[in-house]
């Protein structure tokens, strides 16, 4: 079998395995929802008071930008499990025993990621077509104008995202939750770097095209340029806007002019994706557990003999007597506090000393720094530091395959679920305790209420998302974005910490906590055969 055929089958099997999962339908629904948001005018491209007439060119570009900006974030989390899945299903070990090279495998996984994301791009392209028909501002469909931005910008961006996901899966330290959080900041930086060029009204250097992986600047820059020609008083404002979509004027935009720099920059995106896939091969451990690097130090208690063999399993005489003292039924009781402590231990077990050292430093800094700088700095760190502890809530039983052991125990819904929840709140209260103490001392009761709401809300959100999604990634991705927009940038409704009196909404977050508690309970109840 030639290499191309092997590659085809590897990609095909991986693609089919993913798209036949229920979760894929959910992600397609999310892509459709984004399309719906554009159709209903919830997402628009605004150039100050202007927007383009909804013709094929404008709609193709609008949908492309929605795709590249949102799907490059959400899509990363969706596809960042290609290697993990092979590991979990043990298929990886079989693959590792074949002559397939590491680079071949990582390239195949990148292509598979791309195929999944490209399916979503296709949904968005169809949405663009539907939107033009629904909006009916220009009934003439120009298929090429509509699809060109998808080919030029969306597909290369998805190739880049897919390859980056494979790289993150192979690089030690980025494989798990840390990588999920780090990617958000990488994505923010990739988006932010070229955007400053828009202030110049679309006059860009060639280097900007290369830095513009989503195409935001390349597309909007041309729109700015064309609007300047129509209205010289235009002030260079340009944004892809959600929510605040009111525009008063429209102009006719006839479409992209594809320069050599645009072509070359897109080609460079594809080449960069290939380079990332090949780079991933360097870190890829080929499913060899002995080569898996961990932030945790090697466990000293696994004794390796000089000849490289593991120490034998402790043996015992075959006829050793089996003695068990019978238990009285009264030995059982409801021991929620014990279970909470057990869940807390489970949550914290395996953390290295430096995790505690940094958590302690954050706590001390919260006590010692001026209250305003705690709110804007240290408290934010305290809220992001335990994110990987919270994200395990509700997903641990599935991740470690202990569900059948735990859910066959008596009152598991009434005892184990509350125990996990309380343990999560305890972690929130401990890691953010410095701010709480300061607010109490300062008798700033409104802020203290917001702090309490925050400590209740965050772990409850984690638990609900963990139970419903079955993966820690959902909380890691959503929470990081929420934290960034809310507490870090004081967006009023999203500020769950209430970093300022203007943005604090404790009542809202107490209500959301109650909703999340109900969702978590319902989610677990649905998953249990007998509640």
């Amino acid at each position: 079998m030639n290499q191309a055929r092997v590659l085809y089958h590897l990609v095909r099997a991986d693609f089919l395995e993913r798209v036949r999962r229920y979760s894929f339908l959910v992600t397609l629904a999310a892509a459709t929802y984004l399309g719906y948001c554009c159709v209903t005018g919830k997402i628009v491209i605004r150039l100050n008071d202007y927007r383009g007439i909804y013709n094929s060119a404008w709609l193709g570009c609008l949908m492309t930008l929605v795709t590249t900006t949102f799907l490059s974030l959400i899509g990363f989390y969706i596809v960042k499990n290609a290697i993990q899945r092979d590991q979990e299903t043990r298929v990886g070990r079989i693959l590792a025993s074949t002559p397939m090279t590491k680079s071949f495998y990582t390239v195949a996984k990148s292509i598979s990621n791309f195929a999944v994301l490209a399916t979503m791009v296709m949904v968005m392209a169809l949405s663009a077509l539907l939107m033009q028909w629904l909006k009916a501002e220009d009934p003439h469909v120009h298929v090429w104008s509509l699809l060109l931005p998808f080919f030029l910008f969306a597909l290369p961006a998805m190739a880049f995202t897919g390859a980056l996901a494979v790289l993150f899966e192979t690089v030690p330290g980025l494989r798990g939750g840390v990588g999920n959080v780090v990617y958000f900041f990488v994505w923010s930086a990739l988006l932010a770097i070229p955007v400053s060029s828009l202030d110049t009204g679309g006059h860009m250097s060639d280097a900007t095209y290369y830095a513009d992986f989503t195409g935001v600047v390349s597309i909007m820059g041309q729109m700015q340029e064309d609007l300047h020609a129509i209205d010289p008083s235009y002030k260079n404002g340009a944004a892809l806007t959600i929510g605040d979509t009111a525009t008063t004027k429209t102009f006719l935009w006839t479409g992209l002019r594809v320069s050599r720099a645009v072509y070359l920059s897109r080609l460079s995106s594809l080449l960069l994706a290939l380079a990332l896939a090949l780079l991933a091969a360097i870190f890829f451990h080929r499913f060899d557990p002995a080569r898996e690097w961990s932030l945790k130090k090697a466990r000293p208690d696994i004794v390796i003999r000089s000849n490289g063999e593991l120490a034998p399993t402790p043996a015992s005489p075959v006829q050793a007597p089996a003695h068990l003292t019978p238990l009285t039924r009264s030995s059982s009781g409801s021991s929620l506090p014990r279970l909470v402590i057990a869940e807390l231990k489970l949550m914290l077990k395996g953390l290295r000393w430096w995790w505690y050292a940094i958590a302690a430093a954050i706590f001390v800094a919260s006590l010692a720094s001026p209250l305003d700088s705690v709110r804007d700095g240290v408290a934010l760190a305290a809220l992001i530091w335990p994110v990987l502890l919270w994200s395990q809530m509700g997903t641990r039983e599935a991740r470690f395959n202990t569900a059948s052991l735990i859910f066959s125990a008596e009152h598991s819904l009434q005892r184990q679920l509350p125990a996990v929840w309380i343990a999560g709140i305890a972690v929130a209260a401990l890691t953010n305790g410095g701010l709480g103490i300061r607010l109490l001392i300062a008798r700033d009761y409104p802020s203290l209420l917001a702090w309490i709401a925050c400590c209740l809300f965050v772990p409850t959100l984690a638990l609900a998302l963990g139970i419903w999604s079955g993966t820690s990634k959902t909380f890691e991705a959503i929470y990081t974005v929420w934290w960034y927009m809310g507490p870090a940038h004081h967006m009023p409704v999203l500020d769950f910490l209430g970093t300022s009196p203007e943005s604090a909404r404790p009542q809202l977050y107490l209500i959301l906590t109650a909703v999340a508690v109900a969702a978590a309970y319902l989610g677990r109840r649905v998953k249990l055969a007998y509640a």
Binding site: D301, V318, Q319, L324, S331, G333, Y530
Partner: protein, 292 residues
Amino acid sequence: MKLSIESVSKQYRGNTWALRDFSLELRPGVLGLLGPNGAGKTTLMSILATITRATRGRVLWNDIDLAQNPDAIRKVLGYLPQDFGVYPNLNAVEFLEYMAAVKGLDASTSRRRIDELLNLVNLSDVRKRPLGGYSGGMKQRIGIAQALLNDPQLLIVDEPTAGLDPEERVRFRNLLSELSGERVIILSTHIVSDVEATATDIALISSGTLVAHATPEALLRQVEGKVWEGIVPSGDLQTVKQKYLISGTTRRADGVHIRILASSAPPAAEPLPPTLEDAYLYCLNTHRGAAA
């Protein structure tokens, strides 16, 4: 103490029936649930362990319906699933402490019990080693220990000897025999020798239906006078296999010694005393023949 399984059926998506009209009544003792892969054993175990709900029928523990009151069975249940995981960062003691808390055992009882169980499953020496460093057999023994934490009246073990070395397998069989006094034990397996050593009753299951439920002696009586040994040249083996039901072959200098299951004596064959494996194969084959 009584476990009643009444006409239980389980249907999965795609109109696949894992169990059909399965009925059984169990009293204290060890029931060996034998069946080929895909027979429905694990599905039945999951239903009894309250992990999966039956599509039809009901399960009663001491006449209490499991659907009405699952905790009636859960509080006396010890369950070792076929496929389970552990928390790799916890050591054996911590994991069992956690499971004891989940099962609602008080602290002093669980400490004493964990010590005894770790001795019993021979993991005392590695009690402080994180479970992530355990071999498959050691993890299986941790699974056995957690199943016994609450001194269960109903012990369900699904393929418990998978991954155990021969020595540990014998040890586990002995343990099951010793535990079998005043409790109901269900041992699900496709390894006949596990059942042979421990079971007081045997249930044969195939394609989701109960093929036979009897004592080992009664099953053996069914194949009395139906087991034969013949010697054939290697080249004739395929022809004989097409003609007879073969339960074993051994190559020797004088040819291949074959163990044949047949109602009448094949040419030049000598009668043999039956084993449980013969009875198992005979019953399954008869059932398949009847179903076809």
